[in-house]
């Protein structure tokens, strides 16, 4: 370069820009900052309205809104205990059925599957996440529920000695069907996260196990699973968070009965489903009760997601949030809630 960097005119360096020239930079910076601030204000306003609308019912019932067991619209009594029960039970069913299968697919895809198939198989499993929730509902109502009813009846009568699981008379729509559909819906996210986490296992660990004479399965059990356990648990919890908030697929197959069901194949209700069903006709304290149900739902999801993130961060051993893992977590539970 030629001339010196020291200034010629007015005390500025030759490379420096005039104040007018830096205007676009300032506009951009302050414009984007304002945008971010606006979004933050919008989000906070959202929560303020949510809490505000719930206020009425909490001031009337206090905490017994959450745990009491009597949701009776006709008598204007609102305790959401049965709804909370349904939300938790269907999510647990989803976890019990969905997580082992999801982890198995993750193990298969990353460790056991022929290399050429890996990409296509991942895409196919992930495609489950693209199916909209209402389509799961459609399929559940017309295909899954009727087809499984005979099997449910057989199961309930054969295993009637197990409390709550067996012994009742299955109805067409029940906790189990809802939990099963939720299991299918959380499968892709749990599988994707498990795959990411398993892929971060250092090959030295795996090779060491193999070198010492372990079979393939033993290597997985010794090197892969323990290393990725935290991350997998985190993925499972993210799946649970998704299951908790799922509305449309559940409302179509849960049976809409605001009571604590007496067995696995009984009708039930969830916090999300009650909002979808009753909001259109709600007035006054009923509306407030539904917003409060949403608030409880949201708090539950928040807690579960926080726990999930803690596990995932612990489990990725320092490779947090970058690249593919980040993209997966960032795009969140794809599909609908």
């Amino acid at each position: 370069m030629e001339a010196s960097a020291t200034s010629v005119t007015g005390g500025r360096s030759a490379l420096e820009r005039s104040p007018a020239g830096r205007l676009p930079d300032r506009v951009l910076k302050w414009g984007l900052s304002a945008l971010a601030a606006l979004i933050l204000i919008l989000i906070i306003y959202f929560f303020i309205r949510l809490v505000g609308q719930s206020g009425h019912v909490f001031s009337t019932y206090g905490i017994s809104f959450v745990f009491g067991n009597d949701w009776d619209v006709s008598r204007s009594i609102y305790h959401g205990g049965a709804l909370l029960f349904g939300t938790i039970v269907t999510s647990i069913i989803a976890l019990i059925i969905g997580v082992p299968i999801a982890v198995a697919t993750a193990v298969f895809i990353t460790e056991l599957c022929p290399r050429r198939l890996r990409g296509s198989l991942s895409i196919v499993v992930d495609l489950l996440a693209a199916v909209p929730s209402v389509v799961y509902g459609l399929w559940g109502v017309f295909v899954l529920a009727p087809r499984l009813l005979p099997a449910e009846k057989w199961f309930a009568s054969t295993f009637s000695f197990i409390p709550w699981i067996g012994g009742g008379i299955p109805t067409l729509y029940n906790y189990f069907i809802a939990g099963l559909i939720l299991a299918i819906m959380i499968l892709p996210i749990v599988s994707a996260i498990s795959r990411e986490v398993i892929a971060t296992v250092p090959s030295e660990n795996k090779e060491a196990a193999l070198a010492l004479g372990a079979t393939r399965w033993e290597m997985i059990g010794m090197a892969v699973i323990p290393y990725s356990r935290s991350g997998i648990i985190g993925g499972a919890m993210l799946g649970m968070g998704r299951a908790i908030g799922e509305t449309i697929a559940v409302v179509l197959v849960i049976g809409s009965a605001p009571k604590i069901g007496s067995h696995l194949f009984a009708q039930g209700y969830t916090l999300a489903a009650v909002i979808a069903n009753e909001f259109g006709e709600a007035t006054g304290i009923h509306t407030s009760a539904l917003f409060a149900a949403g608030l409880v739902l949201f708090v539950l999801t928040l807690i579960v997601n926080m726990i999930a993130r803690w596990f995932i961060t612990r489990g990725s051993h320092g490779t947090r949030g970058t690249g593919a893992t980040g993209m997966t977590i960032a795009s969140g539970p794809a599909g609908e809630k």
Binding site: K29, I39, L112, V131, G213, E218
Partner: protein, 291 residues
């Protein structure tokens, strides 16, 4: 890990290995069964709707006993509402992500924004609809009760956190060396952003946006109490409008076989649209250097 060597592989261990590997394979196949079944039924029942005359070219008639009509107003309604939601959420989402990566970085304000955006991704989608209902619908804001643009606002609220987070991830992957090189050559900050950062991140941003749009198209809950429904075709954003997810949701509870067939046909249409968006997004991502 223990340093002692493992004994020779016994037949029992070999068997365990085979059995467990078989189980894992079986589980993977089980995982694929629902997808296969769903696609099978969608095609099996949906195609018979697709081949009905006028399925794509006529609107639902709403007549109780006569022909149920087609789904034209639902398809166009969905496209219009999601298009508006896209126009709202994608620029704003990328803008916020730009702020977070270029200016806010790890500051307290940026971290607060990140935290709240994270929290937003956990909100059940129906809550966005309720929020728009109490803020916009009840007060008849804009001269209308239920309206298509209000549904678009609800959907954009849902898409926004997804776009922000995925865009942030992609923008962070742009190598700082590129930025620094541009700055060293004398480019102004804003030029660096528009000429270097955004183009480099382009494919990734596009992928994230397409996935968000696919998500928005499939949503039902935010539409329930914001747009309601209509039978006939309308382009007016300030009116109630038909949408595919709403139509499916309504027709599922109908005992009328003809409407159930329409529901399957609409579901097939919706899934095809969403799948195409997903596959295009993946294709773009796989071709990008930063996937």
């Amino acid at each position: 890990m223990s340093a002692t060597a493992l004994p020779q592989i016994s037949a029992r261990r070999r068997r365990t290995d085979k059995v467990m590997r078989g189980l894992v394979l079986a589980a993977t196949i089980v995982a694929l069964i629902p997808l296969i079944l769903i696609i099978y039924y969608l095609i099996h029942k949906g195609l018979s709707a697709w081949t009905q005359s006028g399925f794509f070219t006529t609107d639902p008639t709403g007549s109780f006993f006569g022909s149920p009509g087609g789904i034209r107003s639902a398809i166009l309604g969905s496209l219009e509402i999601v298009a508006l939601a896209t126009v709202i959420s994608i620029p704003i989402g990328i803008g916020v992500a730009l702020y977070l990566t270029e200016y806010g970085k790890e500051g307290w304000f940026a971290n607060t924004v990140r935290y709240f955006v994270d929290v937003m991704t956990g909100v059940p989608s129906i809550m966005f609809g309720l929020f728009v209902y109490i803020v916009l619908v009840v007060g008849r804001f804009g001269g209308s009760g239920f309206a298509a643009w209000k549904g678009a606002v609800a959907i954009s609220l849902l898409m926004l956190p997804i776009v922000i987070r995925s865009s942030e991830v992609v923008l962070l992957l742009v190598p700082s060396s590129l930025r620094e090189a541009a700055l060293a050559l004398g480019a102004q900050r804003w030029r660096v952003v528009f000429r270097v950062v955004l183009p480099t991140a382009g494919p990734g941003l596009l992928t994230g946006s397409l996935l968000a749009i696919a998500r928005g198209m499939g949503e039902t809950a935010p539409l329930l109490f914001t747009v309601s429904t209509a039978f006939g075709l309308t382009f007016s954003l300030n009116q109630q409008m038909n949408t595919m997810p709403f139509l499916i949701y309504n027709d599922i509870t109908s005992p009328r076989a003809a409407l159930q067939t329409i529901a399957w046909g609409t579901a097939l249409t919706l899934v095809v649209v969403v799948l195409i968006l997903n596959l295009v997004a993946r294709f773009i991502a796989s071709r990008s250097r930063m996937a």
